[in-house]
C-alpha cells in the first residue's frame, strides 16, 4: 500500500502520515493537487491532505482540488495537535543562539515564547518549517522552530518541546481514496446552488427537516464571476441522509458526494 503526503519530510503533513500509516510506503508530493492527481492515476492507494486548521480555517488548495477532482472519496478524518519545538544542531543555551529560522506562521504561533526567551536573536522567515530545519543543520549558534520529526529526520537536537503560545492549534486531515466508503457517522458533500433567492436556505432546510446536523459549511468561488459560489458541507449521518441528498438535486446545479467516514 502506498500513501501520498505533502512533503518534504518533517512537515506536519508528514507527522500525520507517520501517525496514520502503519505499514504503508510514504510517497512525497510537492502540492496537494499532485496528491489527488496521483490517486486518480492509481500511482498511490491513498493520500493524506490537510483540510482545516483551527486558527487559519479551511485549506483552500484541498477544497478546490476536491471540487475539480472526479472520483475521490474520504476514507477517514484525523486531527493532529500542532506542536512547535525549538531545535538546533547542538545543545545551545538561549543566550548562545544568534538566529532563528522558521515559517512565518510558526514564528507567529511562538511570538510570546520568543519575546520572553530569545528577544536578542535575528529572525529569518523561510517557506516551511522543514526547510528551516534543513537550513540550520550546518549553521552553528542558529535554531529553528519546527516539528519534532525534524530532530530524527535531519539529525538535530531538541532544545525545548511544545513552545507554542496557545494550545488551540489543531489541523484536521482527510485520508482520500478512489473507492467510496459506505460506512461512517459523517458525510461531506460539495454542491452549487441555483442562482435564485433563498437557494442556500432551502438546501440547509432539507437537512434541518430531516434532523441532519450540519457541522461545517465552507464557501469557495465558482471561478466564473464574483458572486457565484460552491459549498462544502460536513453532515452527521442518520437514516434520512440518502433521501435528503436525493431531494437536494432540485435545489442544486451540481452535487458531489465525498462519501462517509
Amino acid at each position: 500500500m502506498k500513501l501520498g503526503f505533502l512533503g518534504p519530510k518533517g512537515t506536519f503533513s508528514y507527522e500525520a502520515a507517520c501517525e496514520y500509516a502503519k505499514d504503508q510506503d510514504l510517497i512525497e508530493y510537492k502540492t496537494i493537487k499532485d496528491i489527488i492527481f496521483a490517486i486518480e492515476k492509481n500511482e498511490i492507494d491513498e493520500g493524506i491532505v490537510p483540510i482545516e486548521n483551527s486558527l487559519q480555517g479551511g485549506v483552500t488548495e484541498t477544497i478546490d482540488s476536491l471540487i475539480e477532482s472526479k472520483e475521490i472519496f474520504i476514507k477517514r478524518s484525523m486531527i493532529l495537535k500542532i506542536k512547535q519545538n525549538l531545535i538546533a544542531n547542538s545543545n545551545y543555551k538561549f543566550d548562545e543562539i544568534k538566529e532563528i529560522y522558521s515559517h512565518p506562521q510558526a514564528l507567529a504561533q511562538c511570538r510570546n515564547y520568543i519575546e520572553e526567551n530569545l528577544h536578542h536573536v535575528t529572525i529569518n522567515q523561510v517557506s516551511s518549517t522543514a526547510l528551516a530545519a534543513k537550513e540550520i543543520k550546518t549553521k552553528n549558534y542558529c535554531a529553528c522552530i519546527a516539528n519534532e520529526k525534524c530532530v530524527e529526520e535531519y539529525g538535530l537536537c531538541m532544545l525545548e518541546k511544545d513552545i507554542q503560545d496557545n494550545d488551540f492549534n489543531q489541523t484536521k486531515f482527510w485520508i482520500l481514496t478512489k473507492k467510496e466508503n459506505q460506512q461512517g457517522s459523517k458525510i461531506s458533500i460539495i454542491f452549487s446552488t441555483k442562482n435564485k433567492s433563498g437557494a442556500l436556505y432551502n438546501v440547509l432546510g432539507e437537512f434541518y427537516k430531516n434532523d441532519i446536523n450540519l457541522t461545517k459549511i465552507e464557501s469557495r468561488p465558482a471561478k466564473t464571476v464574483l458572486g457565484e459560489y460552491i459549498f462544502l458541507v460536513d453532515l452527521e449521518v442518520n437514516d434520512k441522509i440518502d433521501k435528503a441528498i436525493e431531494n437536494l438535486k432540485n435545489e442544486c446545479n451540481y452535487i458531489k458526494v465525498l462519501g462517509r467516514y
Copy 2:
C-alpha cells in the same frame, strides 16, 4: 484626507487606491491588519483592503482583522479587474528574454501565455509582483509579470499588456472608515451562532422570511477549537433589514454590523 493601502507601490491594492482616491494622500502599510489598526488610531481617515477574489476566494486576513476590530465600517465597495502585463527595463523581443520574475499566482494566471511565447525562459518566483518589478529594474534581458502601475513607478517598459490567460479575474475591495454609513443598498454583518442544531438555518431563515437576499456567506474559524465558526454575510438592504438584524440576537452569540454601502 489620508487613505491607507497595502504596499509596496505597484501592487493591485495600489492600483485600486489610485483609482479610488482623487485628492487623498496615499499611505503605505505592510499588512492589512496594520491598515485597520491605523484607522482605529485615527492615523488615517480611510483604508482600502481586498476582501475577495473571483479565483482565490475570500481574503482571510481582511475577514479575520474585521472580526477582531472594534469600530470599523464599510463605506464603499469597488471591483478591480486583475490585468497582468509583461514588463522589462528595455524594449526586448521575446527571444532576447532569458528570465522572468513574478509572484506564483501571477505566473499561474499567465501559464498559457508563457508556454506559447516564452517557453525558453527561466522562471523565478518572488513574494509580490511589485518586488518582481523592483528586481528586474537593474537586470538586463529579464522581464517581470506585474501590474501596469509598475511601468511608471519603477521607470520600466511595457512589452505586452493584458497577458492573463482568462478574463474572469477580479478582486473586490472595501473602503473602510471609523464612521458608520447609514445609506446604501448593501449591508454586511459578522455573527457567530449559538451551539445548537439548526442555528445557521434559523439565521438564514430570518433573512428569507423578510425577503432579504443573501449574496455571500463566508465562514471563519472562531480560533477556539475545531468546529466553532464565525460567519460574514453580505445582504441586500430592504425596509425590513433592521427588524431582521434585531431578531438575530436570539440566534447569535454576537453580531457586528459593518454598515451599509
